[in-house]
Amino acid sequence: MSLIADFLILALTLIGFAALSASMNRHAKQISNRSSHIASPGIRRLRLMVGWHLLALALYPAIKTYGISIGIAVWIGFLAISATAIALLLSYRPKMLRPVFAVTVTSSFIAGLALTVFARSP
């Protein structure tokens, strides 16, 4: 139960940071399949908003699982790990970011669903 929540926090912060990095000019180029093509400013602004919101959203399962004071500490810890992971991916394997992104989105969706089901059942 707690492990699913931990995974969900990690996944949400990973997606959040991935979206944030994709909103930046420099990194959008790295991620893009066609080297000359960069996503339009509108899309990048959308990614920026989504990224910030997902990072904030990750605070919810943290507080729900650990209580407010420990939850915030745990959230900050996961933020650091995810940011490091994304920065390393961008530096060494930028093309891996898309598949990682896809896997994390799917699995976090499942984790979120599982948590909701667990929370409903007494």
């Binding site: 707690s2 004071s69 420990i70 500490a73 940011a83």
Partner: protein, 589 residues
């Protein structure tokens, strides 16, 4: 930088960041590394006592423990039984052995004998710690399996399944690293803490000025450019700083707060007339008076029944310890305390407690404790975070990883000082050479010393008197040797040799563990002993990382060749040494 000329804010801050980080940087690195390891102090101490590795975990011989205590400590005013848990699989008994004192109403605090004014060095912490090391206590090694780590407290370690008494080797354990973290070693009591306090202040200055100097926290957030010399070092320094910035800030500030009583004594002087014990009680709050004994004898109720009842009520929440006040008296009380905390705000007293009448076994109401004031809450949050007391495994690992990030931040910063100034200089100035030597000895040398400390733990005969002290001596001998080595060798060879040495020492720890009586890594994984497996896996990872670093240093070839001409240019433009401000503004090539 010239001080007689006007300069920009950023340049001033850059200067401040550079020098506040450098001057005590090596000490800060040692404080950070030992502090990071201290998050796992119990686990490290357990690893260092291979005699305990094979305790059986099926079953809990609590009745046997109760029998032993009734035999050995019938007259003791207090027992503490530490139950096996995620952080220590043995069953620990402790009892106060001093002659029963005339009991005043508030003699016993709820945490047992902790309100003794030894604010930072508490040996028994919320039922979590099981300290076995006392450097000044000569009797500890002679007393066989009943060691007393604090005057007045006697301890016994049991196999949790059978209730047999276990004899473990005397070891400095993780407690040495823990105490080194805030008071160094071998200094007069106050001095070590003063030095650490001053270093912490430098750290705080470096962090705040670093944030100001960093031009593009958001724009360069994910940027790590590899293979670009000092630019890459700056990126690595930035990344390790920024990603865990909240951690660095809080851990540094709360570290100052923990030493605040020492650094700013006037608060205690003015508000409490110098009574530091009263001050600590007021800060911590929540000392519940224990009812005085009646003097009538009455048999203690069965503790196992209370444990089973509590397990049911708490719905599986792990129980950390059982405290019995006035065992054998008609007014005996029993308190069961949860292993983990639910919140940081209440401080150490915030763990759930269930209290029973010690004779009838009926539950008692907990005496009302005033909720912590705002000041107390702030203190509690900071202190609890700093010590990682609260933590179940996941938060603890997060703290540990953030600590590793902090250590990397300091190490990259120190190396960068040298690299940013190394440009085409044929003969190093004395200062530059000194920084290079201290970098090798302070970073790689410290890791060698820690590795040697663990090796000494296994290679020094288990029955040698004062062997805990010898483990510490080996630590400092290894560190001194690395200093001398760094002085004698050229910079690059010194780095390679010391990194290889540290990496090999640490990566081989799992093998040493298996060969010297410990539970081997495959065995501990198979049996699910993650406490031991975690240590071995971490040793492999850290050792491997150091060997990889050595490999990278070996492959490194400087981009520019040092020539006479280049060094002439450099001496001409002596004043414009590259510094952070300049580096930050340079556009990437």
């Amino acid at each position: 930088m010239r001080f007689d000329q006007a300069r920009s804010m950023r340049l001033s801050m850059s200067w401040l960041h550079t020098w506040s980080g450098l001057v005590l940087g090596w000490l800060l690195f040692a404080i950070f590394v030992t502090g990071t390891l201290s998050f796992f102090r119990n686990e490290i101490t357990f690893w260092m006592q291979p005699e305990l590795h094979r305790v059986k975990t099926n079953g809990l011989a609590l009745s046997r423990a109760q029998e032993i205590l009734e035999q050995e400590a019938a007259d003791s005013p207090m027992w503490i039984i530490t139950l096996p848990g995620a952080r220590n699989p043995t069953l620990g008994l402790a009892w106060r052995a001093d002659a029963p004192r005339p009991v005043a109403k508030t003699t016993h605090s709820r945490r047992g004998g902790e309100a003794r004014g030894e604010n930072y060095g508490n040996r028994h912490e919320g039922g979590e710690g099981r300290p076995q090391f006392e450097k000044n206590n000569a009797s500890a090694s002679a007393a066989g399996n009943t060691t007393s780590s604090r005057p007045g407290m006697k301890r016994l370690t049991l196999d949790p399944a059978t209730g047999e008494a276990l004899t473990a080797r005397e070891t400095a354990g993780g407690d040495f690293l823990y105490r080194f973290h805030f008071e160094l070693y071998g200094l007069e009591p106050g001095w070590g803490r003063w030095i650490v306090g001053i270093a912490t202040m430098f750290m705080l200055v470096a962090i705040v000025s670093g944030v100001i100097v960093h031009r593009n926290i958001f724009k360069d957030f994910f940027t790590f450019r590899t293979g670009k010399g000092k630019r890459s070092w700056l990126d690595a320094h930035n990344a390790s700083s920024v990603f865990s910035l909240p951690f660095h800030l809080i851990i540094t500030f709360s570290g100052l707060l923990l030493l605040g009583n020492l650094l700013l004594p006037s608060a205690v002087q003015s508000a409490f007339q110098g009574d530091s014990r009263a001050y600590m009680q007021s800060v911590r709050g929540g000392n519940t008076p224990v009812t005085p004994p009646s003097g009538e004898r009455a048999p203690l109720t069965d503790l196992s029944a209370l444990l089973a009842f509590t397990e049911q009520v708490w719905n599986g929440q792990p129980i950390g310890s059982i405290t019995v006040n006035h065992p054998g008296d008609r007014r005996a009380t029993v308190e069961l305390r949860a292993a983990n905390m639910d919140s940081l705000m209440g401080g150490r007293g915030a763990a759930r407690i269930l209290r029973f009448d010690g004779v009838s076994g009926q539950t008692l109401d907990m005496p009302a404790v005033a909720p912590p004031s705002i000041v107390q809450s702030v203190w509690n949050i900071q202190v609890m975070l700093h010590r990682g007391f609260f933590a179940s495994p996941v938060p603890r690992w997060l703290l540990f990883l953030a600590g590793v990030g902090g250590s990397l931040m300091i190490a990259t910063g120190l190396v960068m000082w040298s690299i940013a100034r190394a440009k085409a200089r044929e003969k190093l100035s004395f200062g530059h050479r000194l920084v290079d030597v201290l970098n090798v000895a302070g970073i790689a040398g410290l890791l060698i010393a820690i590795g040697a400390h663990f090796w000494a733990n296994r290679l020094i005969p288990a029955d040698l008197a004062h062997r805990g002290d010898w483990e510490i001596k080996v630590f400092f001998i290894a560190w001194s040797a690395s200093c001398i080595h760094a002085l004698l060798r050229k910079r690059k060879t010194a780095w390679i040799e010391q990194l290889v040495c540290a990496g090999a020492l640490i990566a081989a720890l799992p093998i040493l563990n298996a060969l010297t009586g410990g539970l081997s890594l495959p065995g501990s994984v198979e049996q699910g002993r993650w406490l031991l497996a975690g240590f071995d896996i971490c040793a492999l990872a850290i050792g491997g990382g150091l060997l990889f670093a050595a490999h990278k240093v070996m492959l490194h070839t400087p981009k520019f060749r040092v020539t006479k001409a280049a060094s002439a240019i450099d001496t001409e433009s002596k004043l414009s040494f590259p510094d952070f401000a300049q580096l930050q503004t340079e556009e990437p090539a």
